[in-house]
Assembly symmetry: C2
């Protein structure tokens, strides 16, 4: 079963990488891009039997390894099963 994990900086945390991308886009003429926030994206291939197990495993891995819970938040999505948490 596949899971997608999106890790983003919390809204209160300044994102210099995103700001730099936004400035670069403005200088290229894309004035309509008001703001950019950059995050990380992971596709996990999980050897589990149920959707519930997949969700639990992906959330545990995300909070323990993939994201830094102090400054980042994450979202887990099971592929072909809608948004889960």
């Amino acid at each position: 079963m596949k899971a997608r994990v999106f890790v983003t900086l919390k809204p209160s945390v300044f994102d210099p990488q995103g700001s730099t991308i936004a400035e670069a886009l403005h200088s290229l003429g894309y004035q309509n891009v008001a703001d950019v926030r950059q995050g990380k994206y992971f596709e996990l291939d999980l050897d589990v039997a149920s959707e519930q197990d997949a969700e639990q495993l992906a959330s545990e891995v995300a909070s323990r390894v993939l994201a830094n819970p102090v400054i980042e938040s994450f979202r887990v999505e099971l592929v072909d099963a809608g948004v889960r948490s």
Copy 2:
């Protein structure tokens, strides 16, 4: 209008970062995580009138700036409007 852009390495391209994460997870006891692929994730805040304009602008920005089309593919999703391309 908000758009999300997901950039991933093409399936034929080796992903050393993802492999390293998978090995780290195995050494932490997460044997059920068979494989990991890492990608990039962008949230764009767009000043456009229609969904069609948002999709077009996000796709153009993604292919010109955010992704390297030689080794990466991207997917654009409009927030609250389902998957678009």
